[in-house]
Symmetry: C2
Subunit: 140 residues, 2 copies
């Protein structure tokens, strides 16, 4: 299966986070974006359907959205009965790096489960790390 | 203490995620952005120092960066000995909504700990939710 990654969000978040990633990795031809409710896109039902309908029989699509329960994620939820679609909500930059690695993984589902677990741990309150490194130093 | 929130990332990610948030909440005057390594900003040391130096004695700054270990986050780490600075890495949209709520919390540190925990849980592999809802349905 040929794998692609789509970042789909409200507004320009998708383009912004791709730009941040590509500043580090360089251009990623397997990664595309959908920026909903911008000047070019008043609703998401049609563009989402076109993306799903455009998938070839040998293609697998990993979709990273901004928030579970949001309208962009909800629109993709309708298509989860298709075997070649993987949907992940709550994208951040660590997750995006992990998802790019998943494009080459032999077992997509297993790789995505690991990616989600790893990226959760990457959200951190940095002040607490300092507290743990030096319990006597109260930075607050 | 007057609280403000700064989203600081590589490239246009910060502006993009703020746009996504404000599409839902409307304009947030207490939220600003720093988009590093764009055409307007070749390095982060100077703009970060200017932000920190510009903080008033009655101001508290919550900083949300894109990734722990990245150059933007590393630059803010230098200032964590100041009592009025809180640094969180790995921002996603659920976290951003939580952080805006923290601007009105009486105990910033406690509110931020809760915000981080909640946003971690908001990263999810949606296909697995369907599997759990209907174990007999194998969507893969």
């Amino acid at each position: 299966m040929k794998k692609r990654l789509l970042i789909a969000t409200h507004s320009t978040f998708a383009d912004g986070i791709r730009n941040a990633m590509e500043l580090v990795t360089g251009r990623q031809d397997s990664v595309s974006t959908l920026c909903a409710y911008t000047d070019d896109m008043s609703e998401v039902e049609t563009p989402v359907r076109e993306i799903i309908d455009g998938l070839g029989p040998d293609e697998e699509l990993i979709i990273a959205t901004d928030i579970f329960g949001g309208s962009v994620n909800n629109e993709f939820m309708k298509y989860l009965s298709q075997k070649n679609i993987h949907l992940i909500a709550g994208v951040n930059l660590p997750l995006l790096f992990e998802l790019v690695s998943c494009l080459n993984a032999p077992d997509t589902k297993k790789a995505l489960e690991t990616a989600v677990d790893n990226s959760r741990e990457q959200i951190c309150y940095c002040n607490l790390l300092l507290d743990q490194a030096c319990p006597a130093c109260d930075t607050f």
